[in-house]
Amino acid sequence: MKLVVAVIRKEKLNDVLASLFENDIHGITVSHVQGHGGETEKVETYRGLTVKMELTEKIRLDIAVTDPFVERTVKSILKTARTGEVGDGKVFVLPIEKAYRIRTGEEDAEAVTPVLSTL
């Protein structure tokens, strides 16, 4: 099992989500983060104080998937999150040793297969 961690542009979230859903990836955790990379900094000015904003708002996705799903997940993100301009973000793949579903106590692969009955 892997944890796919992606940092993407804020305005791309909806597109990325849609594409993940299409690829049957339904378990996703989203955080609001700020990023610093090669992007041009914004300059702001408050009553004569000029400041350089080193951080840009970004979205971080954490997606735990079983090994066969990793490629699909990464590809789907790489495709939909791209604009081609500096600042598109990164995808990292981390190893997961163990996963549990809190509701049932199921482990590993079972833990991350969502029940879609309610949809």
Binding site: E11, V43, E44, T45, G48, L49, T50, K52, M53, E54
Partner: protein, 447 residues
């Protein structure tokens, strides 16, 4: 202050009284002016809460900057074109640069009339912005309202409210006066049609119809609606131009019409979606107030309730339809102010009573027709005029910000600020480098 100015005051008061100025009227008109002024702040929050976080400041600034710009255009030339003697279609230059606008004046000092009317001009202009938020270029907006406030607002105010000579155009339309107590035509229909045209010309937001663009702070919208309603008591009540029973009537109607609209709107919401929404309630407040504006001093309180009820329907269904259409009148200026204003103007033609004054107009088919014609003329003038002015501005400046800025949010790009910030990751640009930078004229990074 205190006793000295007091005696001075009494002296002036003596003078004033001799001229037929009544302190009680002045007191009420001073307050009413301040109330209408406050509506601009309310509008900034009403609109500001409805947009996305990244455009909060830009949206609010569109209201606030009109306090500056229209405050100045109104004193330089707007008031003159609206109220100085001229012909039926346009005022003259008699009040240019506030010439002859002084402490004298029948009833109230002319300078007070100037202030009261000025706040109307300011709020009208600010209303338009709701249609073009989140994408219009701020500099183009400033240029547009500078011209619009002079060429569109002032003439229409003249038609409806000018009383010298034969009166303005609308004082005698199809043989009767088009009734507009507090500005249904001049303020609401006028601004709403301008908003519609501008929304068409500028086009929809990139995300429109693709993403959900939700209000970032509904409490601000409720605050704005509350302040608007509060201020509207001065807007409608002050339009009686006296602290009398008519003003009280206008005030009662301004309480009851929106109350009725709230109830009906909530009921429709409840049946449609099973829920009474807060944004809906705030919208209902505005719709009810807009609808009663032209009628406020002409109808009985029960008629006000009926007007509030009737006006709900066109506005409610239009706004619900609009969201799914391809028309990005982003904050529904036309749906609320346009349809509300038109409904109110037409119903005024039906429900108006003369309260025992044989010379006053009463509702009926004839009056309804007059109202109808007035609405059509006002809408046509505002629409065409807005189109021409916006086209003119477009020659100089693009009306719309580029797509990248729109995606990033206008606050940072147009104002160099964020609405909400905790300053983290914000590095101060040191004095020395910023001083150097300042030498490079027009450069963005400067001290």
């Amino acid at each position: 202050m205190n006793k000295y100015s007091l005696s001075l005051g009494l002296m002036l008061f003596g003078v004033a009284f001799a001229q037929g100025q009544d302190p009680a009227t002045i007191s009420w008109m001073l307050v009413s002016s301040a109330f209408v002024f406050f509506m601009v702040v309310g509008l900034a929050f009403f609109y500001g809460g409805l947009v996305r976080r990244k455009n909060a400041l830009n949206t609010m600034m569109m209201s606030f900057v009109s306090l500056g710009i229209v405050g100045i255009t109104w004193s330089v030339i707007g008031y003159s074109l609206a109220y100085a003697d001229g012909n039926r279609f346009l005022g003259g230059f008699g009040y240019f640069m506030l010439n002859n606008v002084g402490l004298e004046g029948e009833g109230i000092p002319t300078i007070l009339d100037f202030v009261f009317q000025g706040t109307f001009a300011i709020i009208t202009v600010a209303l338009i912005s709701g249609a073009v938020v989140e994408r219009m270029r701020f500099s183009a907006y400033m240029m547009f309202i500078t011209i619009w406030s002079v060429l569109i607002y002032a003439p229409m105010a003249h038609w409806v409210w000018y009383l010298g000579g034969d009166g303005g155009w609308f004082k005698n339309l199809l043989g009767g006066e088009a009734l507009d107590f507090a500005g249904g035509t001049v303020v609401h229909i006028n601004a709403a049609v301008a908003a519609l045209v501008l929304a068409f010309m500028i086009g929809k937001r990139q995300d429109f119809g693709k993403k959900a663009m939700l209000p970032h702070q509904v409490p601000f919208t409720l605050l704005g609606a509350g302040i608007l309603w509060f201020g509207w008591f001065g807007f409608n009540g002050g339009s009686a131009y006296a602290a009398d029973a008519k003003a009280a009537l206008a005030m009662a109607n301004s309480l009851l019409a929106p109350a009725a609209t709230i109830v009906v709107w909530a009921t429709l919401d409840y049946f449609r979606a099973g829920k009474v929404t807060a944004v809906g309630l705030a919208t209902a407040i505005v719709v009810g107030l807009v609808a009663i504006t032209p009628a406020a001093g002409f109808v009985t309180p029960m008629s006000a309730i009926i007007i509030g009820i009737i006006a709900t329907f066109p506005c409610y269904f239009f706004i619900n339809w609009r969201a799914h259409s391809s028309l990005d009148d982003s904050l529904d200026v036309f749906g609320a102010h346009g349809l509300g204003g038109i409904t109110g103007a037409l119903l005024t033609g039906i429900f108006a009573t003369n309260f025992g004054d044989p010379e006053a107009a009463t509702g009926g088919l004839n009056q309804f027709l007059i109202q109808f014609v007035a609405v059509v003329i006002a809408a046509a003038f505002s629409g065409v005029g807005t189109f021409l002015i916006a086209s003119l501005v477009k020659l100089v400046l693009p009306l719309r910000s580029d797509d990248k800025i729109e995606a990033q949010g206008l606050d940072v790009a147009m104002h160099g600020e964020e609405g909400y910030s905790d300053g983290e990751g914000a590095l101060l640009i040191p004095v020395s480098s910023s001083k150097k930078a300042a030498l490079v004229a027009g450069q963005v990074v400067s001290s």
